[in-house]
């Protein structure tokens, strides 16, 4: 009888101990304290992708990934100003297997995406899509009302600033990735709009951010800016339409040469001496509008130079109608240079490249001054652009869509791309602070596979 009782008790005991256990994973935080992490930045920090900010994009943002990896080293809660669905403000792009390029999702978003969620804050992810360096600091209070991405989670739209709201959370650790929009806005508009933030203003703004964030002893990491012209938005179209893609037979070349000779005569009659090129049978450079030329529109056109770049937004259906040569559709024949918002011209490319160099010098200096980890995104992206980067068997390149790095807008990253960016932060943080934060595998994050 006794044996039976023992067996019964044993059986009951085993039945109640249902689930097998595995020890929790922990690691060292080194010299850093990850208990309260705040991320400052722009759309890249917010998790923007495919031309919109949407729920899963935010959940896979690099700060969210960092916060999850920080958990094993004492990291705390990480709140983000989440959209309510996958369609954000209604601009999201998707793939359509029947069409060559991305298409609008065409789904009405959850209306709550347009209302304020400030009551759910404060938010650890203070990334604001569209923000430039000086938008983050005092002086830019109006920005929290003017930018709808910030207005929907700012504590007091019109009064709040990103820096003030970030400092108010008493962070023990922060990341800062800002500066892309300071030069990107100008680049994305083909140099036709916006302007590059002057370096003095950039230095003051980023310095103020770092000053404010480190005031109470918080440690952190700051990332520099990749070359804006390496992104698919500036590169892809040139693989489809070369700068000298104006193909003509003997007759057409003679006719176009004649037309431009007439334009020369017209200008001469206005007192302007100008020499347009002649056109030959075969490939010719497109004519592009260059506002620096001392000519009145629409005559301020010149041949496109090798190295100048078409943007993703190029209206390719206008090319067969004469864009890039002449407009013969009205009563008069006039030059039709490719509008400047579709092209990055040599002088613009020079300005952009110099700005990136200047900003990165400033960022490196500030990282030293405030004793922060420096994430050299510029170098990492150069590798991805030049030879590609393989991570866990996935080859990341800057090719549009197939390269897996950039999402359907050609500017922002895919979730897999953001996970690799997070790993760059982690490596720099571990290097600086002796922490043991583990990296993530991009295999566990979605690539661009969202379809209609």
């Amino acid at each position: 009888m006794k044996l039976r009782n023992i067996l019964l008790l044993l059986a009951l005991g085993m039945l109640f101990a249902c689930e097998p256990k595995i020890d929790d994973f922990t690691t060292t935080s080194g010299g850093a304290d990850f208990s309260k992490y705040v991320a400052i930045g722009n759309s890249l920090t917010a998790g923007y992708a495919d031309k919109d900010l949407y729920l899963s994009g935010q959940e896979n943002s690099y700060p969210a990934i960092l916060a999850y990896q920080f958990e094993a080293a004492g990291g705390g809660e990480f709140k983000q100003p989440l959209m309510f669905d996958e369609y954000g403000f209604g601009n999201r792009l998707l793939l359509d297997a029947a069409k060559p390029g991305p298409v609008p999702a065409g789904v009405a978003p959850d209306q709550r995406n347009f209302t304020s969620i400030a009551a759910e804050g404060p938010f650890n992810n203070m990334g604001v899509p569209g923000a430039k360096s000086f938008h983050l600091v005092p002086g830019a209070e109006a920005y929290s009302a003017l930018n709808p991405y910030y207005a929907r989670f700012a504590a007091i739209p019109g009064t709040s600033t990103v820096l003030e709201e970030s400092v108010a959370q008493n962070p023990t650790f922060f990341t800062c990735w800002i500066g892309n929009n300071d030069v990107l806005g100008y680049a994305l508009a083909g140099g036709a709009a916006d302007s590059i933030t002057p370096t003095a203003l950039f230095q003051m703004a980023v310095g103020a951010v770092l000053q404010g964030m480190t005031a109470n002893g918080a440690k952190g990491a700051i990332a520099n800016i990749p070359n804006v012209t390496d992104i698919p938005f500036a590169q892809f179209m040139n693989t489809q339409v070369p700068y000298n893609g104006l193909l003509m037979d003997t007759t057409q070349a003679a006719q176009l040469t004649y037309a431009y000779q007439q334009f020369e005569l017209f200008l001469a009659s206005q007192g302007i001496t100008w020499d347009y090129p002649e056109f030959s049978p075969g490939l010719n450079p497109f004519m592009v509008t260059d506002e620096t030329l001392p000519l009145p529109a629409p005559f301020n056109v010149r041949p496109m130079e090798q190295g100048e770049l078409f943007l993703l937004t190029l209206a390719t259906d206008s090319l067969p109608m004469g864009m890039g040569s002449v407009n013969a559709m009205g009563g008069n024949i006039v030059p039709w240079g490719i509008p400047s918002q579709y092209v990055l011209l040599s002088n613009e490319l020079e300005e952009i490249d110099q700005a990136v160099v200047d900003y990165n010098e400033i960022i490196a200096g500030l990282a030293t001054q405030f004793d922060l980890a420096l994430v050299d995104m510029n170098a990492k992206f150069k590798t991805v652009a030049n030879q590609g980067m393989e991570v866990d068997g996935i080859m990341f390149t800057t090719a549009f869509i197939s390269g897996k790095t950039f999402s359907l807008d050609g500017v922002h990253m895919t979730a897999q791309g953001y996970s690799v960016a997070a790993n760059f932060f982690i490596e720099a943080i571990n290097d600086k602070y002796g922490s043991g934060i583990t990296t993530v595998s991009p295999r566990l994050y979605p690539g661009i596979y969202y379809y209609q």
Binding site: L3, R4, L7, L10, A11, M14, L15, A17, C18, E19, P20, K21, I22, D23, D24, F25, T27, Y54, S56, Y68, Q69, E71, A72, D85, E86, Y87, R92, L94, L95, D96, A97, A98, K99, A105, V107, D392, G393, T438, T439, V440, S441, R443, L444, P446, G447, Y449, Y450, Y451, Q452
Partner: protein
Amino acid sequence: MRKTTLLVVAMCLFGASVFAGGYQVRLQGHRQTGMGLIGVSLFGDASNLFYNPAGLSKMNTKWSIMAGGSGIFSTTAFSLENSVYQTTTDNPIGTPFYIYAAGMVTEKLGVGVGVYTPFGSSAKWDDDWVGSHLIQNISMKVFFIQPTVSYKINDMFSLGAGFVVASGSVELNKSTSYGTPTAVGAAGLSGNTISYGYNVGVTITPNEQFSIGVDYRSRVNMTMEDGDATFTLPTSVESIIPVKNYFNAELPLPANLDIGVAYKPNDKLTLALELNYVFWGVYDSLKFEFKEEPELLNSSNPREYKNTMIFRVGGEYVINDLLTVRAGFYYDPTPTDSEYFTPETPSLNTYGFSAGISIKPTKNLAIDISYLHLETQESVRSYAPEYFTGTYNGRTMIPGIGVSYNF
């Protein structure tokens, strides 16, 4: 019960979910389960149909009819490598069963037929768990029908042989890369098949104290042809990948060679040792071939299983006419390769602890109860082709009950 009703019942019950040795299950008798799944050297009733057909000509009574089943309550825990991410399976209860009927038609000749479930697998992870692209859930059910004949050559030697008709079905689901923002892409595969095999054994009893058994159960290839594949895809992708497709796949159910010895120092006590050699090495990869879009969809997924040797020890003590008690232990190493380990069959090295009791309210009727408890060795495993690494641990609890009527 009528035979047809029995068959219907048989087809409704699930296969088992014991992940000790791959997807093999040996819960085909409660006496044997109580003794650490030892069976090849034992004899006396119809359950020998599975463990060693030679025993059918050495039954204690002329007729033996047995039926029983077990409930498999198993959970696997997973912890992603270098991450705080952890999850567990939420498996349905596995219900392996057996039904045997055998008789000694002459003093030397025994015949019988049985239905049992020697293989099975059932794992259910969260649909959106971190390994969903490898597997979300899988359910494999196999049952064998085995008509058997056994001949007692003399007091020392008995032989037995059974022919196996195997019926198997599998259903699995996993996520795919092609999805819409609100619906993850998924692939669901299901198929069934009939295959054949055999089960042969010999029992040697040099004297009343010792018996030695050897049994060989052949490999059975489950070859699925034109199984159903259903893809959940975005509308625009349906023009490239068909939503409904057909696939071929082959899964081997490995051969087993069992050798064991039982020792009865007296009327009441039986002690037994057994070795099972399982020919898992035949399972080197799982290939899927699709009828439509084969270049896009076909895959060959390495598994690289290895042959294993299971060591068992068990004992039985007849307390009185009413009660018999049993206990057993075994070590079952996993056939899986540590670099080609998939969470659809999270099989780890396993320790089995068993106990059992038989109650005989009458001379002819016995109620057999067993309990098997499995603890796995917590292990770090990878599926290298997908760079998927984590720590796995498992626990399984298997109570079982059966009835035998021997007369």
